[in-house]
Symmetry: C2
Subunit: 205 residues, 2 copies
DNA sequence: CAAGATTGGAGAGTTCCACTATCCAGCATA
DNA sequence: TATGCTGGATAGTGGAACTCTCCAATCTTG
């Protein structure tokens, strides 16, 4: 198919497809002439993934490219993908406060018995939030943190179960990305609904 | 204190403070003369909260204003805050697909016995993601959804426990906002760490 | 009490991002 | 052969989040 058909089938404008190609989110088509190229179902599939990551998950184009690069580099290795596909995280200036929080995060990881090698951004993101809560005078106590961690562990268990049924490796890798990245807002939405219910229950409304 | 001291103590530039005042995130100081106003610790506190919501949580200025308005309007009612303080969510076009997913979400809410009245944005956010996953050929099955929901319920339990110790109502309301909004990236970070561990465990690495 | 810095308020300017539009020569189709 | 589509490049758009500049009034310092 040519670009206009790709556009029609994906619902993404030709101009935007060109933009994604320029930005390295989407590979170019197979050129058939100087001003002609051929696109296939892989392109369509990739384009849908891009739109999901940008539109539903709210990732930036840059963050999306990072995720996609991890996807293509590590297609054979689902485990690595899970470690890599975490997307955008803020760059944190290293204050003394942050260092202390980072140490607390590492203690938590040890306490949970988690074997975590890379994932520096998740560690700093966590330390970041803990530091901010401290600054705001609403520190999160160790017990709560531990309970959250245990629930996260169970959640990850459900996540990994979802990967079992995957047929080919490409699909497994893609599914891993979707579960780490795309499911985030859904889980947060679930938590909000549960909060409202739990609040109503405790206040006897 | 005057604006420059507020700036120095908060680490936010004077220009930005003025911008937040213009945008309605921060109330004006108490005017003492035509070109002078007095700020207090409440302003400083509010400013730190704003920076946390924008910087750490990544909320937009508009979304932050919504959260802050909910905070000031419903200070006395923690439950309402929890329902309101969910911040930015994408506007979804109502396709037939979406309707089906929304029905599934409602079935889930019923199955869980959740009493949820408002929170339309959490419902659509959830339906959105389910629809997208379906479109991408990686549907989330009912069992997994139910397991996620149960974990969300337990997470909400921990959340609500955190509110117990609050002394005054203002603090309770603020804490509710921080827990619904600011803790999100932390929980997602925990999930990522847990995923990496769980993946390593299952693959015997 | 004069000089210099600071202030509140408002408008304009800046930077970044995610597109979107325009242009062009080459190609496909009728 | 004319009409429209194509890849590639460049420029333009609109929104968001600041940031700068200006002003007269006011405060502070010497």
């Amino acid at each position: 198919m040519r670009i206009s058909e790709l556009s029609r089938r994906s619902g993404v404008s030709v101009a935007t497809i060109k933009y994604y190609i320029r930005e390295g989110l989407l590979p170019t088509g197979r050129p058939t002439a100087a001003t002609q190229a051929e696109y296939d179902d892989q392109h369509l599939r990739r384009l849908r993934l891009i739109r999901a990551l940008i539109g539903v998950r709210g990732l930036s184009v840059n963050a999306t490219r990072d995720v996609l690069e991890a996807l293509s580099q590590e297609q054979a290795d689902t485990h690595r993908i899970l470690g890599l596909a975490l997307g955008a995280s803020r760059l944190a200036e290293e204050t003394a406060q942050e260092h202390r929080q980072l140490a607390e995060v590492d203690t938590l990881i040890e306490e949970m018995g988690w074997r975590v090698h890379s994932n520096a951004s998740a560690r700093t993101a966590l330390a970041d939030t803990l530091a901010t809560l401290d600054d705001l005078g609403v520190p999160l106590d160790w017990g709560a943190l531990l309970r959250y961690a245990k629930l996260a562990e169970q959640t990850a268990g459900v996540d990994l179960d979802q990967l079992e049924g995957a047929e080919d490796l490409l699909e497994a890798a893609e599914r891993a990305v979707l579960l780490t990245t795309l499911l985030e807002p859904a889980l947060l939405a679930l938590r909000k609904l549960a909060q409202e219910h739990e609040s109503a229950r405790r206040h006897n409304i």
